[in-house]
């Protein structure tokens, strides 16, 4: 029991490395917020473009979405971080992690929002167009507000799943929660910093998971 406590809850180690892990928390939060905002915005914009059904554009969007949904994000991260310098492009590990996870979230968000747009009945388009609204006006004022209600639960779940992947930044040296914790763990030869990291993740993501559950029940009921 003592060995267990000493390994996972070593008071001295916890005290020494708590500040650096707290710094990691801010990096993780900043990354997550940036990724969620730009990923969902980008994905929604692509889904809207796809609604115009311009053949070539739609094909390109589908290819992008399928590739970024198929590849493991870690592969993309390593490829970009270790590959781009060879052709003279130097990006910080923070930037690489942000870019890749944004592109991955945007790919998923595009598919989810597109599914939401196509789930809005054809009659809604017809009613709106019959009163003189144009295609874009119909998309903005009639279709998207209904699509958003449909896609909020799956989109939230996906956003949580992707932001948790900020932990992948560790392999390229991003000083996020896990990055800080593994550094501390190797200096102290003790698992307590990792335990602290786990606790930090729970505090960060549990409220989001509960929030998404609330959203699901809130939007599951037929819209009133």
């Amino acid at each position: 029991m003592e060995a267990f406590l000493d390994t996972f809850f070593n008071g001295a180690v916890l005290a020494r490395y708590a500040p650096s892990i707290l710094q990691g928390v801010w990096v993780t939060v900043l990354l997550s917020v940036l990724i969620v905002i730009s990923g969902i915005a980008g994905g929604s914009a692509l889904a809207c473009l796809r609604a115009y059904r311009i053949r070539l554009l739609s094909v390109l969007i589908v290819i992008y979405a399928d590739i970024f949904r198929a590849l493991p994000p870690l592969v993309l991260i390593l490829l970009v971080f270790f590959g781009l310098p060879n052709i003279g492009i130097l990006l910080s590990s923070f930037t690489v992690l942000y870019l890749i996870l944004t592109l991955v979230l945007a790919a998923f968000a595009e598919e989810i929002v597109w599914a939401g747009i196509t789930a809005v009945p054809k009659g809604q388009w017809e009613a709106s167009r019959s009163t003189g609204l144009g295609f874009t006006q119909t998309l903005i004022w009639v279709v998207l507000p209904q699509a958003v209600r449909i896609v909020i639960p799956p989109l939230t779940n996906r956003a949580i799943a992707i932001t948790k992947m900020t932990a992948l930044g560790m392999v390229i040296g991003v000083p996020d929660i896990l990055g800080q914790a593994t550094t501390a763990q190797s200096f102290s030869a003790n698992a307590s910093p990792l335990m602290l990291a786990a606790i930090a993740y729970v505090f960060l993501f549990l409220p989001l998971v509960i929030f998404s559950r609330w959203l699901e029940t809130r939007f599951a009921a037929p819209g009133v």
Binding site: P121, E126, S130, G132
Partner: protein, 255 residues
């Protein structure tokens, strides 16, 4: 003829010439000609698949005609340089499934096009919207959402949504087919009232009694063509074509 004299002064509200439409290999409309005078209520009958809904939907180009010319008060509806959205403000449409916007209140359903297409300020749009809801007897439900309204009420809001734009013609696509029988009367009463106020109306429906009471002219369509047309008395009492007779017999037998 009064109609010819009128035509010299003002063009008919709606004309359709040589309208054709195919879905894939199937030709649904095989050349439709139709003229609707101002304030006329024209009722279209026909078996399902006869092309009557497609014909109606071609009038405001929700379905794109393959061939033919359509005019609204003399202005071309078909053709390359048509500002379709402007024209659609002048052609109200009412759908079988109501198609109200579920995320908007009854009033917002009615004011959306007033605000976004006619670009009226909110106060003005809401005043017109409330007046339109009042015409269909639902001013009190302005703040209700579609899910809180009965089918009949939803359809009347949908009528108000079209009416608020003060269209030159109203197109009705089986407006009562999705309603419980006891709710049909309210919708028909609103349509009767519109007729009394001089609205020009093209109605695709199976409400025979309404056709007898309110229609100026009844058109019978079958297999993509107009088989015959005439006054309600002519069509219902003395149909000239066997197909019309068979159709009406089947209907009266059902009723």
């Amino acid at each position: 003829m009064t109609q010819a004299a009128q035509g010299a002064v003002a063009p008919p509200t709606l004309t359709v010439r040589g309208l054709r439409k195919s879905f894939g290999a199937e030709e649904v409309l095989k050349g439709i000609d139709l003229t609707i005078a101002r304030s006329e209520l024209v009722f279209v009958l026909g078996p399902s698949g006869s092309g009557k809904s497609t014909m109606l939907r071609c009038c405001n180009r929700l379905e794109e005609p393959d061939a033919g010319e359509i005019t609204l008060e003399g202005d071309p509806v078909t053709g390359p340089k048509v500002d379709l959205n402007r024209l659609r403000l002048r052609m109200g449409m009412v759908f079988q499934a109501f198609n109200l916007y579920p995320h908007l209140s009854a009033l917002s359903n009615v004011t959306l096009a007033l605000r976004k297409v006619r670009r009226l300020p909110r106060a003005k749009a809401e005043a017109l919207g409330l007046a339109a809801l009042d015409r269909v007897g639902l001013k009190a439900k302005a703040g209700s959402y579609p899910a809180q309204l009965s089918g009949g009420q939803q359809q009347r809001v949908a009528i108000a949504r079209a009416l608020a734009l003060e269209p030159s013609v109203m197109l009705f696509d089986e407006p009562t087919s999705a309603l419980d029988p006891e709710l049909v009367g309210d919708v028909l009463a609103v349509m009767q009232d519109m007729k009394a106020q001089g609205m020009t109306m093209l109605v695709v429906s199976h409400e025979m009694k309404f056709a007898r009471d309110a229609a100026d002219r009844v058109i019978f369509m079958d297999a993509g063509r107009i088989v015959e047309e005439g006054s309600p008395e002519q069509i219902f009492e003395a149909p000239q074509h066997e197909r019309t007779e068979t159709f009406l017999a089947r209907f009266s037998g059902r009723g």
